[in-house]
Symmetry: C2
Subunit: 221 residues, 2 copies
DNA sequence: CCGTGTATAATTGTATACAGGGATACAATT
DNA sequence: AATTGTATCCCTGTATACAATTATACACGG
């Protein structure tokens, strides 16, 4: 989708700065000087500027004209808010997906889910990385299946946000298993063409993820 | 909020191109050449580039590396989708606003609403421009009052989208009156600290706006 | 000692220059 | 005639240069 970013310098700079903000290298209110960042990354100011302007639009950076760019950061409350918003929208997404999903997408969901279940049952234990990637994939397919560019766009954005920001938080095995079971239920509802049920399940699924995060005592820094 | 844009050239270019996409000057799949646009606006390529990169993030433009920027546009379905998403989120927003609103914000809402009602009762007829502006203001205050940067951000974005895109559509006097009555009800629910009611009313409000638009036979081009 | 004003440095804003990739047109070959 | 190769032009990607604005330091006056 946005893979093109890898090909352009500004794209890579964009991703790098974004990462550095979300994982805390740049902290709240830090000043992001174009020259400094450029030298650090071995590029000129131009790509850095373009990246900063994009980050400004995403809300991660605040630009004061003729003054500079400052890290806005993303607070713990922001994370909770995103989960609340997501819970509503993932519900809507599951509903629409139920109505628009293609056979191919159903298969992809099934495959992703089976891989997840397989990962969880490996004797040698499961790879957190792998499970997280599969989780992301499951949701991404669902977004796509909603048939709504708009909805998909905003959900993908939010997903990225929390995905990166919660990397530090530990995912318990118990929660991982439960999460996959919930995915399974959602998929079943979609296959049954029960939009109402899919919506409710997806809605609750996000709330559960959030509750788990809260229980684990997530802290932003 | 984003008024700074007015001060920088790239900001103005950004707004200009965005406007020209939303009001149809640039049509779907049109190629946006940096040089051409730059010459049209009397600026160099640099601000144009920055603007295009930002628009790409907003989803209005698609950039193919080493090829160019193309208008993605916003279809009629996109508009409906936005209204559906908004209806969910405005509900959530009203709920949170009920819990977080300040006295000052309550007063601002009241004032905005009274001005709207005044506009509608003028003997010389009402100014569509004015009423639309007040409508926007009412919602903006509500977004702010939610106390959620995240929610406010996404709702503002969507509001701008449809605001600009539906400029062509005619707003009936009947609908305008009804809309203001609905605002009045929402405000009452918030004042009563009835979050449940506020959520439901705000939710329905957006759906009504959408239904009205549909009835008027909105067409994208 | 504090505030104000001015000069200077640093940083952003914009334009231009240069390098590289892709499209098009035309020629050559099959 | 069709397809492929190649040269050229145009456009984008990046760097650099120049202009404008803001921050900093220091001197001067109160």
């Amino acid at each position: 989708m946005e893979e093109y970013q890898d090909h352009s310098l500004s794209g890579r700079v964009f991703q790098k700065i974004r990462e550095d903000i979300l994982n805390g290298k740049y902290k709240e209110n830090d000043e992001l000087r174009e020259n400094t960042i450029g030298k650090e990354l071995g590029v000129s100011r131009t790509p850095v500027r373009e990246a900063l302007r994009q980050l400004e639009l995403e809300g991660l950076v605040t630009i004061i004209p003729n003054r500079g760019a400052y890290v806005t950061g993303i607070s713990q409350k922001d994370i909770w808010d995103i989960y609340m918003v997501r819970s509503h929208l993932e519900g809507l997404c599951a509903r629409w997906a139920t109505e628009h999903i293609t056979e191919k997408q159903l298969e992809e969901l099934e495959e992703t889910l089976m891989l997840s279940e397989f990962q969880m049952n490996r004797e040698s234990g499961f790879s957190v990385q792998q499970v997280a990637a599969l989780d992301g994939r499951f949701h991404a397919i669902l977004y796509e299946a909603s048939g709504s560019r708009i909805l998909s766009h905003v959900l993908t954005d939010f997903h990225n946000y929390v995905q990166m920001a919660r990397k530090s938080s530990i995912v318990s095995e118990e929660r991982a298993r439960k999460s996959i079971r919930e995915h399974r239920q959602i998929l079943r509802a979609i296959k049954d063409r029960d939009a109402e049920m899919a919506e409710q399940l997806a809605n609750e699924h996000i709330l559960h993820v959030m509750q788990n995060l809260k229980k684990q005592g997530y802290r932003s820094e």
